[in-house]
Symmetry: C2
């Protein structure tokens, strides 16, 4: 009923699912669907209906009983909450194998982000053109970040450089970091850090693989084994 979000705090688990709903809703919108039920949305997002409803309820009561949720409206609501009403400029530090793949990826734009700068420490790489951007020097990082109002950074350097780079980024004013280097990076309080670690993911899969056969039916649930956080909570330095 409350048309106002009110002062609730959105649980962390819910936040991690909002992007999923967002994606599912975009699909609906593309198809021209006007409204979705929690059931349908759950199906599209690979989730269950009760969870969807509870999650959405944290944003306010925007559903209509007997009907469902208005796709366009909910999209606006979620993108507002996620801060996707604008395109965020992003800097990628470390333009190697992975950094280049990310730089060439055109899937970010559709999701609220724009790779705005590429930075590398290797003088041989600086000046090189990758897609529509030229690689800039690590020495100019602070300048690049400040001038273009960059708040979000992706670290794609080798592990040993990651912590140092993170420090530079924070000093330059970056407040959110996505780290691909397989190492623990700490950042001061007030900075968000998430990480993606391929080897870790594979190892988790490997664990359940090793359990093969006897994991199925675990706890009687139909839940697939590999789940939850590959991203560990990072504590302030």
């Amino acid at each position: 009923m409350a048309d106002r979000p009110a002062g609730r705090r959105i649980p962390e688990a819910t936040v991690t699912r909002l992007p999923l709903y967002y994606r599912a809703l975009l699909e609906c919108a593309d198809r021209g669907t006007e409204t979705v039920s929690s059931e349908r949305l759950a199906e599209l997002a690979g989730m269950n209906a009760a969870k969807v409803r509870k999650d959405l309820s944290y944003l306010g009561s925007y559903g209509t009983r007997g009907v469902g949720y208005e796709v366009e409206f909910l999209l606006g609501r979620i993108s507002g909450e996620l801060g996707l009403t604008q395109d965020w400029p992003v800097v990628i530090v470390g333009v190697g194998n992975l950094g280049q793949a990310l730089a060439n990826y055109h899937g970010f734009g559709a999701r609220g982000f724009r790779v705005e700068a590429l930075v590398d420490a290797d003088p041989a790489k600086v000046g090189e053109q990758v897609g529509e951007l030229a690689v800039e020097s690590l020495d100019d990082l602070a300048e690049v970040v400040a001038e273009r109002g960059i708040r979000i950074a992706i670290i794609a350097t080798p592990a040993p450089a990651a912590q140092e780079v993170a420090g530079l980024l924070v000093a330059a004013g970056v407040a959110s970091i996505l780290n691909f280097a397989p190492t623990v990076v700490s950042v001061p309080d007030g900075v968000s850090l998430r990480k993606v670690d391929l080897a870790t993911e594979l190892q988790i899969l490997s664990f359940y693989q090793a359990e093969q056969g006897n994991w199925s039916g675990r706890k009687g649930s139909k839940r697939a084994p590999g789940s939850s956080s590959p991203v560990i909570p990072e504590v302030a330095s």
Copy 2:
């Protein structure tokens, strides 16, 4: 005390952390450290000591009070649990931007995995050499998987192809899939699925960014905002 693991079931949250401890222990081993305390290990893994101890206790009681854990022994114990005593052959399906970066990545070998085959649907790509491997045809997927005893696959195709590819993989005998395509993929019971979604990660960061300033001190904890699961539990089809 118990030298035997006994019949405990390792909690999911713990499983996702074992690779972290593993990595931290490898560092210790490299440095020649013989034993680590839970405190030290926690520091290296970006975790807290109590959690480390509790997690390790699920593997059995392998610490020595007053001393800590024997690095080599614990490494063996964890790699055993994670099934890393052998190198798992992995197939990458979709050799585009991302697939190539992954194929060229030499960080897997050090962590118990070996990219054994590259598969793509594009005839123009088939036969192309990427690193030490030649790209093979999607038509030969089943054969490739079967012949080389592949159990783990990485999907790096465009989103629309992901579900179909997953189906083929499962049919071919793959039991664990790591999906990079930003779409929900379902697999039958008995198959593990994890996903990595860049845009989702960035959106989560964006959420906390939007909250900037007022999230700090949330609940009085020092915890950085971006945490928990970017990987949602996938349910069997």
